[in-house]
Every structure is written in structure tokens, then in C-alpha cells.
């Protein structure tokens, strides 16, 4: 493995280039590599076969060994050899990583998982978009009180605290982050799940702010990951290296979250899958984490599409076959349709593709407690389902999305929790409850294998 200090050395000695030139390099090389390896997006097979997964891995090794990373702090490319990339993959493959989060009765073990395993991924939950102060605690409570949810992947980011906005790199960022940690713990207490994993520390981004929150004791090693994630495409800065070094020295887990955007610099779904895997390898190279996770969307923020499912599967199955780090993924959707059947169907489709592609933990983002209950229940039945059956199911669900999308309303901003839940009783409002019931029945008719334990109330 390459040391973090060595990353600094390469950040100070690699080829100097303008960021736009690096971006062009990413774009051009990716097109050449995708063509060379003959990787093509197939909407009929959203969970990919072994051959496609192998090609994606080989392409990612070549991509990383010819493009590498870029440090925006030094304007230099960070280069790797093919042998170094293969060694990182071999090390993870032959020395399986595991990770324990939570404490007491909330302790969870995250370990590598394959597409054939019949045990379901660990169920993480969390927010997408801003959280308002008045429903911050109820939101956490709603998620935590679902017994089948194991932890919070990302605890969300508050808009303001008593009118004070969190401003990056300033005292208000830390002020709001400290309030938020208290609020999260209160949400867990109200649900009776104090020891639950809280996921990545989201509101505070600066290294000083992270250190202050940790020092305060509001976050601990057992419930926190710190973001070291690369920006799309392949960029880091010294704050990421500092945080990775802090994690390594203090026995904390970095939040290794790979991102590539469909239609962005890596282009097509095929390029995005290769870019996503390359991004993950880059983070494992300097972060040395026990876990990895994947996120993709289209340029406009849309997720839960056929292309996104395919990208997740291609990168996920490549990890399953060649790296075997416990991998997380985002069961996401187009959240501008939040509260409608579109969002619900897409989230189930994402979850299905990720579960059937060997991911070890899934994060149902932007969902309410009720929605995560349904999603996690389905995840049990999908685990171990044969690939051809999964692909048939995915195509049925996504055809339904195409059918109903024109009938639903796309909002300019994400709809917020109080539109769906009564915050006093913490019960879903009748209209939302009816939508979830209907969508669940529709999905069951499409072949989603819910268990008889599922109660929607």
C-alpha cells in the first residue's frame, strides 16, 4: 500500500497541469479505454455478467495508471503504475477488511458480500437535501425507530440553527455542527437506540471543524466516518490527505465514497462505471479504509434510472470479483419526485440492482422511516435472487417508472418531511400512507418479494 506521506510527495512532484487540461485528459482517455475494452451499456441486463465486470476492472486499472489523480492544492497530477493499482486490489482481495460500527446492542459488523449471498446487506438510512431545525430530531427518530434500520449512513445537514447559517470554514459551521450532533443523539435517545452508528460527519467539512467536533465527545470512533472522498473526477486536495492521516493515526474510519457522474467527464454509462471504480481505487490508495461506497447520478441530479442501476452494478460486481472491499451503495431516486410513486419505484430499483451486485451495505437516502421499512423488507427477498430474474424485475419496475412519470409532478425543490409526516404523532399523513401502500402493492404485483412481516401503518 502507498503511504499518505507518499501521496504528499507525489502531490509535490507530479506533472504540473491546469485543471481543465486534467479534465480533458480524463475525458479523452476514458473514451479510448472504454472502446479498447469493448464495454457497452446494456439496458436489458442492468445487473451485469462476470465478463462485463472483469472488463470494467481491467479498464479501471488502465485508467488509474494513465490518468491517476489530481491535487487541486498543488496543480499536479498524482501518478500510479499499473503494478501499484493491482497491488492495492490484491491486498484488499487477499486480506478481507471488516468494520464494526455502533455500540452495545446497536453493534453491527460490515463484511464483504457477494452477488450470490442470501443474507441481506446492512441497512443504512439518511437524508438527501437540507434538514430544517424544527424537524431535525423527529427525522432522526423516525429513521432510528425502524427496527430493521441498522445505522445512519449520512446524518444530514441542517439549514440553520436559530437563524445562524453554517458557513464553510467559519465559526458558524462549527456552531451548527455542534448543535446538530446534540440533535442526532437526542433523536437516537427518543428511539431508544443511543448506540447506533451515525455515519459520515456531514455539516462540518473543514479539518479544524472535524477535530473540534471529535474533541468535544459528541462523535466517537464507533459511530463516525470522516469524509476523504475524491471529487468527480479524480480530484483531491490537502484537506482530504490531512483527514485521511488523522483517521489513520486515530483509528477512525474514513468515509470512502466514490462518485462519477453520468454525462460528465467520464461520459457514457460505460465510462462512468470505469470512472466510479477508478475513483474508489484512488480513495482506497490513500485512505486505506475498510469500506468503500459508490454514488452516481445524471448531470441534473437524477438517479434511480436504468443507466444508474447499470453503472452501480458494473462497478459493484467488478469490486466483488477483484477487490472485495465491503462495499456500500446509495439506493436513490429522483428526489424532485419525492412522495410520489416515481421516487418509490426508483428507490426499489436502485436497491435491487445494488443488492444483486454484491454490495454489503445500502443507504436508503432521502426516505422516511416508512419508506425504509418497505425498502429493507424487500432487500431480504432480493438477496440471492438469480441474475436473470433480477434483470426481469428491474426492467418491469423501470418500465413502470416510464409509465407513471408523466402523471406525477416534479417539484423545483425537494419536498420536506412535514409534508409527509405529522411531527407531533410521528405518524405518516393519510395521503402519503395511501401512496406508499399503493406503490408497495404495485411493486409486489411486479414481483418484488416482500415478506409477510411487512406492515404499512
Amino acid at each position: 500500500m502507498i503511504s499518505i506521506l507518499e501521496f504528499q510527495r507525489r502531490s509535490e512532484t507530479g506533472p504540473v497541469m491546469e485543471v481543465n487540461d486534467f479534465d480533458m485528459l480524463v475525458g479523452k482517455r476514458m473514451r479510448e479505454i472504454v472502446k479498447k475494452y469493448g464495454i457497452t451499456y446494456n439496458p436489458e441486463e442492468l445487473v451485469v455478467d462476470d465478463e462485463t465486470a472483469d472488463k470494467v476492472f481491467q479498464a479501471a486499472v488502465e485508467y488509474m495508471s494513465t490518468v491517476g489523480l489530481y491535487n487541486v492544492s498543488t496543480f499536479r497530477q498524482i501518478q500510479f503504475t499499473k503494478e501499484e493499482i493491482e497491488e492495492i486490489a490484491r491486498d484488499y482481495r487477499e486480506n478481507h477488511r471488516t468494520q464494526v460500527f455502533g455500540t452495545g446492542k446497536e453493534e453491527i459488523l460490515i463484511k464483504p458480500r457477494t452477488s450470490q449471498d442470501t443474507w441481506a446487506p446492512i441497512a443504512m438510512v439518511g437524508s438527501t437535501g437540507p434538514i430544517q431545525q424544527d424537524w431535525h430530531i423527529p427525522f432522526t427518530q423516525l429513521l432510528a425507530q425502524e427496527p430493521t434500520n441498522h445505522g445512519l449512513g449520512c446524518s444530514g445537514c441542517g439549514v440553520s440553527v436559530d437563524g445562524i447559517e453554517p458557513k464553510a470554514g467559519t465559526v458558524t459551521e462549527l456552531h451548527c455542527a455542534l448543535w446538530e450532533q446534540e440533535a442526532l443523539l437526542e433523536g437516537l435517545r427518543r428511539a431508544g437506540r443511543e448506540g447506533m452508528h451515525l455515519g459520515v460527519l456531514a455539516t462540518v467539512f473543514t479539518f479544524g471543524g472535524v477535530a473540534a467536533v471529535m474533541q468535544n465527545g459528541l462523535r466517537n470512533k464507533y459511530n463516525t466516518q470522516l469524509g476523504i472522498h475524491l471529487m468527480a473526477e479524480q480530484k483531491l486536495d490537502y484537506s482530504r490527505l490531512l483527514t485521511a492521516y488523522f483517521c489513520e493515526q486515530n483509528g477512525m474510519q474514513p468515509w470512502t465514497s466514490a462518485t462519477a457522474i453520468i454525462g460528465g467527464l467520464t461520459g457514457s454509462p460505460a465510462g462512468t462505471a470505469v470512472g466510479l471504480l477508478g475513483n474508489l481505487i484512488g480513495q482506497l490508495a490513500f485512505g486505506h479504509g475498510n469500506l468503500g461506497s459508490l454514488f452516481t447520478s445524471h448531470l441534473g441530479g437524477n438517479s434511480g434510472t436504468r443507466e444508474a442501476c447499470w453503472v452501480y452494478s458494473a462497478a459493484g460486481r467488478a469490486v466483488e470479483r477483484h477487490i472485495q472491499v465491503p462495499l456500500g451503495g446509495t439506493a436513490s431516486a429522483n428526489h424532485y419526485y419525492r412522495g410520489t410513486r416515481v421516487c418509490f419505484y426508483q428507490q426499489l430499483a436502485s436497491m435491487t440492482a445494488l443488492t444483486a451486485s454484491g454490495l454489503a451495505y445500502l443507504w436508503s437516502v432521502g426516505a422516511t422511516g416508512l419508506e425504509t421499512r418497505v425498502c429493507v423488507n424487500a432487500m431480504q427477498g432480493i438477496s440471492g435472487m438469480p441474475r436473470d430474474k433480477v434483470n426481469t424485475l428491474l426492467n418491469t419496475i423501470l418500465a413502470k417508472v416510464d409509465e407513471v412519470m408523466p402523471e406525477e409532478t416534479r417539484t423545483e425543490r425537494y419536498r420536506e418531511l412535514p409534508e409527509f409526516y405529522d411531527l407531533k404523532t410521528l405518524k405518516p399523513k393519510p395521503e402519503f400512507l395511501a401512496t406508499v401502500k399503493q406503490a408497495t402493492e404495485d411493486l409486489a404485483d411486479m414481483g418484488v418479494p416482500y415478506s409477510s412481516e411487512l406492515v404499512i401503518d
Binding site: V19, N20, D23, M24, V26, G27, K28, M30, R31, V72, P130, C157, G158, V159, E165, P166, K167, A168, G169, T172, E173, T203, V204, F205, T206, M231, A232, E233, K235, D237, I261, G263, G264, L265, T266, G267, S268, G271, L299, G300, G301, E412, R413
Partner: protein, 214 residues
């Protein structure tokens, strides 16, 4: 030769062919305005069409933008005086604390296609740097990208500097990014919000008092 060959070469991102065709056209005495409008700009429009049709992606947009700038640089010395009027000068960047650059690069490409002179000033840019660059480049419009809740308030800092330095009327300020919105724009005293790259051109055209080009 025909200027449509230039259009085709630019649209197909054939760097060497496009540049040599422009040189040939100039050497053959073709009208430079015709080369610019019906050759180079038409090629850029075709790239935009292919992007909309998802035949091209962000990297192709950027490559097309770079290629067209190189072609324009060849034509510019031959242009008649007063014929090269640009739509306006825009500086773009991601505010302090924000490293997300895909969104503003899309905006940059679309604005260049619409005839704007665009200066990308990078990511994690301090509010005062936006102000200083705007003054230095005599920017008509300052475009601020904010992807995070914690970085959105930094957009307001730029407006505050412009106001407190007495130069608020010299520059329009627009915002975009995952956490930006019309409401945030209004509350921070910005001049507008664009939810995507195409809308950003319409917004800039409106602020510049021009009919929409997008």
C-alpha cells in the same frame, strides 16, 4: 472549400482538420465573418445539439469549446472592426469550501457557445477573489457555484463586498448549484438563479438586456 466543412470538423472534434480548414479558408479569401458565423459557431451549435441528444457528454463540450477558441483566434485578426462584439464578460467559479466544478464547467461551455467571454477562476474561491477578479476583468456578471448547504452562504458574502465597496451596480451576481435556489438568490441579494446550464444563458441574456440566445 465550403465553410460547412469547418462546421463538420468542429462538430466531430477533429482538432487538426478544423484548424487547417480555417487557415485554408482564410488563405482562399473567404469572408471571415462567414467563417466565424457559419463555420465555427455553427459547429459549436451542432456540438450543443449532440449534447442535448446525449450523443456527446461534458468532456466533448469542453473539447469543442477549446477547439472553437483556437479557431476563433485564427479568424479574429481578419475580422472587420466592430464585428466581434461579445455578449458580455462572465467570471465563474465555485465558492470557498466547495470543490465541485462539473456544474460551472457546463455553464461555462454553454455561455461560450452563446458568445460570452468566460473566465473560470476555479474552485474553493474566496469571496474577495471573485470581487477582485470581476474588477480586473471588468466582468459584467459574476457566476457563483455552491453545491453544499455550508457553502451557499458564501455567495451572499460576494454581494456584501460589492455593496460595501460601493460597486454593486458594476456587476450582476448569479448563483447555481445543488443547494442554490430562487429563494436563496433573493434572500442574499443576488440578481438571479439558474437551475441548469441552458437556463444560465437565458438568465445572463436577460441581465445583459439581450434577447435570449439559448
Amino acid at each position: 472549400m465550403n465553410v460547412s466543412d469547418i462546421t463538420e470538423a468542429i462538430a466531430d472534434l477533429e482538432d487538426e482538420r478544423a484548424l487547417s480548414l480555417v487557415e485554408e479558408a482564410l488563405a482562399a479569401g473567404l469572408d471571415p465573418v462567414d467563417i466565424l458565423q457559419n463555420g465555427i459557431v455553427a459547429g459549436l451549435r451542432e456540438i450543443g445539439r449532440r449534447f442535448d441528444a446525449e450523443e456527446y457528454y461534458l468532456a466533448e463540450l469542453m473539447m469543442g469549446g477549446k477547439l472553437s477558441q483556437e479557431c476563433i483566434a485564427l479568424v479574429e485578426p481578419h475580422m472587420p472592426a466592430g464585428s466581434g462584439a461579445k455578449s458580455g464578460v462572465v467570471i465563474l467559479g465555485a465558492v470557498q469550501g466547495d470543490l465541485h466544478d462539473i456544474g460551472y464547467k457546463l455553464v461555462s461551455t454553454q455561455l461560450k457557445l452563446a458568445g460570452y467571454e468566460v473566465h473560470e477562476i476555479g474552485v474553493n474561491v474566496a469571496p474577495m477573489t471573485f470581487v477582485q477578479k470581476a474588477q480586473e476583468l471588468k466582468a459584467d456578471i459574476i457566476g457563483l457555484s455552491a453545491f453544499l448547504i455550508t457553502t451557499l452562504p458564501l455567495c451572499g458574502e460576494v454581494v456584501n463586498y460589492l455593496r460595501d465597496m460601493g460597486i454593486r451596480d458594476n456587476h450582476r451576481v448569479i448563483i447555481g448549484g445543488a443547494e442554490a435556489s430562487h429563494g436563496a438568490s433573493e434572500s442574499m441579494g443576488c440578481d438571479g438563479y439558474a437551475p441548469n446550464a441552458v437556463q444560465s444563458v437565458i438568465l445572463c441574456d436577460r441581465l445583459m438586456g439581450r434577447a435570449a440566445t439559448a
